[in-house]
């Protein structure tokens, strides 16, 4: 299992150069990937723009959306952005897409949330065709487009993943929750008749160092405020000690995760060093 790191693109009030600094430093410390989240109605950076900037200041690191909310975007525009980023970065994009969880992001983008499931399926059926047929350029670095992951926890999400994508991206939680989702992902893959097995991506939040813990929890409460009482649980599950990080990583590895991305909850650059140290 590889362990990558998130960029603080959804941590409010993060300075632009701080994002670039993160990307540079993550590559310097040999993290295999940087991940970004997606949110519209929030003090956050747009994922493709963020990863485009990160691509400009790095050479090797994989650029991952975990996830981009697909239905709120135009299908062709999303396909074009992804192809552009993939081409600009020399084939470093892993595109995770999902439906997202917030109605206000749909309202703000003027998309009817009631049709989002069907729209998402249609988008998934369309992306690949657009990349392959080069109807929407540029030609992605890889034949058939960037590595495509689908997220979500419903049976439909697993079926879409198995039908259209290369792998599954989990939305976070303890290793046991990931293991359950991974079993469903594999079952769906096999049911749909795909050869081999899906790539499995996981994620978790961390805040290391005494001064980061409370700020991290505060951010998570705010970011997940729309989930109601669940926000407290997410904040409480933040990985706040090297031991907690190690246990989490081991749990994910045992559950069969291929790539785990640990997402920061404060934008302080020293978090990268601390994580690298915790991972050993």
């Amino acid at each position: 299992m590889r362990v990558g790191i998130g960029l603080p693109n959804t941590v409010p009030e993060t300075a632009g150069d701080s994002i670039l600094g993160w990307a540079r430093k993550a590559e310097e410390l040999r993290f295999p990937s940087v991940g970004v989240l997606d949110r519209i109605v929030f003090d956050s950076y747009e994922p493709f723009v963020t990863l485009g900037a990160a691509a400009a200041v790095t050479d090797r690191i994989r650029l991952v959306t975990m996830i981009v909310i697909a239905p709120i975007r135009s299908t062709a525009l999303l396909a074009k952005q992804a192809a552009s980023l993939d081409r600009l970065s020399g084939g470093r994009l892993t595109l995770g897409v999902s439906i997202g969880a917030r109605e206000d992001d749909y309202e703000a983008t003027e998309i009817d949330p009631r049709r989002r499931g069907r729209r998402f399926s249609e988008q998934l059926a369309t992306f690949r065709a657009q990349w392959e047929e080069h109807a929407v350029g540029p030609r992605p670095a890889r034949d058939g487009g960037p590595e495509l992951l689908v997220g979500g926890s419903s049976g439909q999400a697993f079926a879409r993943m198995a039908r259209y994508a290369d792998g599954y991206v989990h939305g976070g939680g303890p290793p046991r929750a990931f293991a359950g989702a991974a079993a469903r992902a594999r079952a769906a893959w096999s049911e749909l008749g795909r050869p081999d097995s899906p790539r499995l991506w996981g994620q978790g939040y961390f805040a290391l160092g005494a001064e980061a813990v409370e700020r991290g929890a505060e951010y998570l409460r705010r970011y997940y405020a729309f989930t109601g009482p669940f926000a407290e649980k997410i904040a409480a599950a933040n990985l706040t000690s090297p031991q907690a990080v190690k246990d989490f990583v081991r749990g994910y590895e045992e559950a069969g995760c291929d790539d785990l991305v640990l997402l920061p909850t404060t934008s302080d650059l020293s978090q990268i060093d601390r994580l690298a140290e915790a991972l050993g």
Partner: protein, 712 residues
């Protein structure tokens, strides 16, 4: 801290006393609406695990509780006049009244203020408290007042049950099944002190009405049950304590805490009584909440951490309880089981206890089960075992004249690497390797009966003599390497044809070289799929002929088993489902019409197949879509397929339409298999998120399927 607990049941009292132990300075008040000795219900059951938690939490009450415990380690299943006993289960029970008395006294000793006959109408009176605990049971006032925050949901179960006591002292946790002209009744009975047992009677709603119990008085109900269970009671009587026939309600909440208010026990969640865990969960909640408040000084954090610790545990129990409840709701389905298998099925009903777990608890019992399975189970046909028996998974099976050395089938993944329908040498190697792996039966990937019936250009076929030769060599190789059997899955892709190799995704239409598609009706599979042509009667005849020809080639190639694909939205399945079949002729409309063509195909094709070799159908058990084909339909079609010459049903689900709502959870196909097998008495093959040998042994021994399939 000022703590007010609404409800003086086990959860409230236990939490109260634990908080006093955490810090004697806490001011703890319990408000109970009833008088101290007015309790309802009889005995409550605890497992070893719960007792460990209670011992660690409060030794004095633990000692007192366990002093008066009724303890036993056996479960008796009394069915068809025979009692099957299994041991090693380690239960304890105590009279609820006695438990409350112990906890009340312990509360008094520690300085918890318990006020009886104190009704709390709403939360306004409790405004000054630092923490308000709603331990006020399933009809909780606290939950009702804050309903908008807790967001409870209620699931009402279909059976009726009543809690009686009896002066008969059972020697084991006892399940009794008795039928009469009104239907089947079951008893859940267990002792809880030296003189008394709990005696719960449960039956389906219809049975309850037929028996006239819907307007029977309490005395009439007792008289009815005493008569029905006269042999079991042996002269003892049933005791009543406001014993009313009710429906169980499973309660779930989105969250159990709001501000400084938290729910505990039955106020927060219920789990069907057939796994006997209400009091256990309630007292464990109390331990966890007290522990969390001790660790986290901030009440809101403590409540969140409490919920994070307990919610997954409770959900697991609720899931198991639902499985258990479903078993008892449908127990009539197992009426033909022999007592030993009936008992094994009952013990493993909730998914928590498996073949392996029972083996640990009672090896002799499992040896009897395995012995019975090896010598008697449907399809064994070997009459081996008894003293020394293989586990069910390794028990041979016989289908018609074909012996299979064990009950594991391996189904190969499609690599889409055939050329013009001729299986590749890689496929040959993979099939031979699969046979070497030890699986009793190897199943090919779908094999097309026509070139235009392929799923992708790389789908293997059996529509020409070159293909026949290639398959004959594969079958010979498989037979040469061991005792493994090989089955072929005959398919016509229908609306799902002419797609790209599945390494690039599924149902993605070919960019070039697509052939025209045929289906029951002209419904494209996805928004981008080619629109198929609704088959004419002539085209239906051609495809039927293709299945006949492929079946006879399969015979010539030497396959041991022939399987027809009637699932996943391929051509024949497309006829079955009202979502994909919109025909106006005698092949569309009613279920009978929709199943007509698939049955014509199967019946015609098996005529050329040797009668001593098995025939299977892979059948959709549910479309997982509103208005679609469901397990009821599947059960009827399975019965008709059996008439039409099938000896085995492989259970499948979903993919009839692209926008279905599948469920890929653990064992997702097993309940369908259970239903089809035991409603119709037809052997089944089941797969779907099965991963361990223990799962396979459990499913087979419990009679939920006859063979299990893994994908490889």
């Amino acid at each position: 801290m000022r703590i007010v607990i609404v409800g003086g049941g086990p959860a409230g009292l236990y939490f109260g006393l634990l908080m006093k132990k955490v810090d004697a300075a806490h001011e703890v008040t319990v408000l109970e609406r009833n008088p101290p000795d007015a309790t309802f219900g009889w005995g409550v059951v605890f497992s070893e695990e719960t007792l460990g938690a209670l011992r660690d939490a409060d030794r004095p009450s633990f000692d007192e509780i366990t002093d008066t415990f009724a303890k036993w380690d056996a479960i008796d299943v009394r069915y068809r006049g025979e009692t099957v006993r299994s041991r090693g289960h380690a239960f304890s029970a105590i009279a609820r009244k006695r438990l409350l008395a112990i906890l009340q006294r312990r509360c008094a000793d520690l300085g918890v203020k318990v006020h009886f006959e104190r009704e709390v109408p709403d939360l306004s009176a409790l405004a000054g408290a630092d923490l308000v605990v709603g331990a006020d049971g399933v009809n909780s006032m606290v939950r009702r007042v804050l309903e908008a925050s807790f967001r409870p949901t209620y699931e009402v179960h279909r059976t009726r049950f009543v809690w009686f006591g009896t002066d008969l002292v059972f020697k084991a946790f006892t399940f009794i099944f008795r039928g009469n002209e009104h239907g089947l009744f079951q008893v859940h009975g267990y002792p809880f002190d030296a003189a008394t047992s709990t005696f719960i009677v449960e039956c389906p709603e219809e049975t309850w009405r037929r028996a006239g119990l819907d307007d029977a008085s309490e005395d009439d109900s007792i008289a009815y049950c005493e008569k029905l269970f006269a042999d079991d009671l042996g002269g003892h009587s049933l005791l009543s304590n406001r014993s009313l026939w009710i429906n169980f309600v499973t309660l779930r909440c989105d969250t159990w805490n709001h501000g400084n208010v938290v729910l505990l026990g039955d106020a927060a969640h219920t789990a069907h009584f057939t796994i006997g865990s209400g009091t256990k969960l309630a007292m464990e909640d109390a331990v966890a909440l007290a522990g969390s408040l001790e660790r986290y000084p901030d009440v809101s954090t403590a409540l969140t951490m409490f919920e994070m610790e307990r919610q997954p545990v409770v959900e697991r129990f609720q899931q198991a309880a639902l499985e258990s409840a479903a078993y008892f709701e449908n127990v009539k389905r197992y009426a033909d089981f022999e007592p030993i298998q009936f008992a094994f099925n009952l013990l493993t009903r909730s998914g928590r206890i498996t073949h392996l777990e029972l083996e640990k608890r009672d090896p002799d019992f499992v040896a009897r089960v395995d012995g019975w399975f090896a010598s008697h189970a449907a399809g064994s046909g070997h009459r081996v075992g008894g003293l020394v028996s293989p586990p069910p998974m390794l028990t041979p099976a016989r289908s018609r004249g074909v012996d299979v050395t064990n009950r594991v089938a391996l189904s190969l993944q499609s690599k889409d690497d055939a050329v013009e329908g001729v299986p590749s040498s890689d496929l040959r190697t993979r099939l031979v390797d699969a046979a070497r792996s030890g699986a009793g039966l190897v199943l090919t990937e779908p094999v097309a009966v026509l070139a235009d019936g392929r799923i992708t250009p790389g789908t293997p076929g059996l529509y020409g003599d070159g293909q026949l030769e290639a398959w004959r060599m594969i079958v010979d190789d498989v037979h040469r390497v061991g005792d493994g059997r090989i089955g072929i899955r005959l398919t016509h892709a229908g609306a799902r044809g002419a797609t790209r190799p599945r390494r690039e995704g599924v149902d993605r239409p070919l960019r070039a070289g697509a052939w025209p598609l045929l289906a029951a009706s002209d419904v494209p599979y996805t928004a981008r799929s080619q629109r198929p042509r609704a088959m004419s009667l002539e085209e239906m005849q051609d495809v039927l002929q293709a299945f006949i020809d492929a079946a006879s080639r399969a015979m010539l190639a030497g396959f041991d088993l022939l399987e027809f694909e009637l699932s996943h939205g391929y051509l024949l399945a497309g006829f079955l489902s009202p979502l994909t079949n919109r025909r106006g002729d005698e092949y569309g409309g009613s279920r009978e019409n929709r199943m007509r063509y698939p049955l014509e195909v199967v019946s015609a094709a098996v005529r050329g197949w040797p009668s001593d070799r098995p025939v299977a159908a892979r059948l959709t058990a549910s479309d997982w879509a509103p208005g679609g084909f469901d397990v009821e339909d599947a059960s009827v079609v399975a019965g008709a397929l059996r008439q039409g010459g099938c000896s085995l049903i492989e259970v499948a689900a979903g993919q009839t339409v692209e926008h279905d709502r599948p469920d890929y959870g653990r064992f997702f196909l097993v309940p369908f298999s259970d239903r089809i097998r035991n409603d119709r008495g037809i052997p089944t093959l089941v797969g779907g998120n099965l991963t361990t040998r223990d799962e396979v042994n459990t499913i087979l021994a419990a009679g939920r399927a006859d063979l299990c399939v893994f994908s490889g």
